[in-house]
């Protein structure tokens, strides 16, 4: 825990300049709920640390059909966000109160199991990640942000500064299975955002968490429901398709076998919810 410097930049340009100056030696923390445990345990032994709480990155603002969420907005702030009910629900189901008061939306992209519950919802919403570096700002679909197990498209001199979330009409569902009801790592997380055409699904994005190297979309399950009414048969086919698309791993929380089985069950439950809910008011 003896670090030589703890930087608290007061703006994004200042943070990017510090990153450029100190390079990859600089450990960047936001809420601290992922990085500080590693520092406390001596698993991570950084010489220099930069905290983003003062960098002015915690604002949320809606403009037209887009919600921009600053990277360090807390999960607690997200639970009260009326323009993104799927994100609000994912945030409510993440960790516990004191953790949500600290943990950030941007940080959730990096949370183990690779990508947290909010990240799965961001994928179902087809959100974009805003990355800022010395050369300016670039925007990537969140799906392109994860490149492998614990690897991302973030360059060493870049910071995640925000999420750009389309404000979507239609229906959504969020289902998380853990070993207990709350404050628990996911066995599998399912987030679905769908556009309806009457009783039929016009199109749906079905995102899976904790069953791959990072949150994944199940294209096969999405194809199984597109243009269809959510009958029990359609739901069963989509659930099996999602289980085939999963790339589960075994760890202390659950085996790969169980994760794949539960992927089918939880996608089934999410689609049953979707079939039951009524259209959210436009």
């Amino acid at each position: 825990m003896t670090v030589s410097s703890y930087f608290q930049p007061a703006s994004v340009p200042e943070a990017i300049a510090l990153l450029a100056e100190h390079g990859p030696e600089l450990l960047v923390i936001a809420g601290g709920t992922v990085a500080m445990p590693l520092v406390n345990e001596g698993i991570s032994l950084p010489d220099k640390v930069m905290g983003l709480r003062r960098a002015g990155l915690d604002r949320m603002a809606r403009s037209g059909d887009t919600l921009r969420i600053g990277a360090t907005a807390t999960l607690t702030a997200l639970t009260a966000q009326p323009d993104a009910p799927l994100l609000a629900e994912a945030a409510r189901r993440t960790a516990a109160w004191a953790v949500r008061n600290m943990a950030t939306v941007g940080g959730n992209l990096f949370t183990p199991p690779p990508g947290g519950d909010v990240a799965v919802a961001l994928l179902a919403l087809d959100a974009q990640v805003e990355l800022a570096g010395p050369g300016g700002v670039r925007v990537l679909p969140v799906e392109a942000f994860w490149t492998g197990f614990m690897t991302t498209a973030l360059a060493l001199d870049e910071l995640v500064t925000g999420l750009i979330v389309p404000v979507r009409e239609g229906r959504h569902a969020f289902v998380k299975l853990g070993r207990k009801a709350a404050n628990t790592p996911a066995v599998v997380t399912v987030a679905v955002q769908a556009t309806m055409d009457g009783d039929r699904v016009a199109d749906a994005r079905i995102a899976l968490g904790a069953v791959g190297p990072h949150p994944l979309r199940s294209r096969a399950a999405e194809a199984a429901v597109a243009g269809r009414t959510l009958t029990p048969e359609v739901i069963r086919d989509a659930a099996e398709a999602a289980a085939s698309d999963a790339e589960p791993f075994s760890d202390a929380v659950a085996s790969a076998w169980y994760r794949r089985r539960m992927t089918a069950v939880m996608v089934g439950r999410a689609l049953e919810q979707l079939a039951r809910v009524t259209e959210r008011g436009a």
Partner: protein, 165 residues
Amino acid sequence: MASVVVAFELAGRPVEVLVSPLATLQQVLRTQLGHTSVKDGCRQGACGSCTVLLDGEPVLSCLLPVADVAGRRVTTLEDLTPADGLTPVQRAFLDANGFQCGYCTPGLELVTKALLDRNPAPSREEIAEALAGNVCRCTGYTPIIAAVEAAADAMRAAVSEEAAR
């Protein structure tokens, strides 16, 4: 490694501490300020025993660099406990056998206070949800939830008594 000075509010009074960079609020509260109700549990943000209130909101002091609380208001159980007697929450935990070893109790009581400040009549589900981040390995939680319900009842009764005067 240059030490840094951090100023914040503790127990309604300004405090100023000289700390190493990245010292956590928990370390500073326990070792420099004598607030040993703030426990040194898992240091992973997983047990809740180091919970404090930051501007009234529960946070985990083991994950919080003290430099980040500069200018803000920190509340621990030491601040809430009257010099003589107990808070309604402490009284309720005692009466309901809401603890055995007591290690989790300060964190649980601070989360309880934060909950009851926002919601004076929480349901059992709301209580369980609020306390989900605080691990107790003695009680099985049932007496803790009963204690929170009793504290809520007592505090509401005190408020109506006050109003009736």
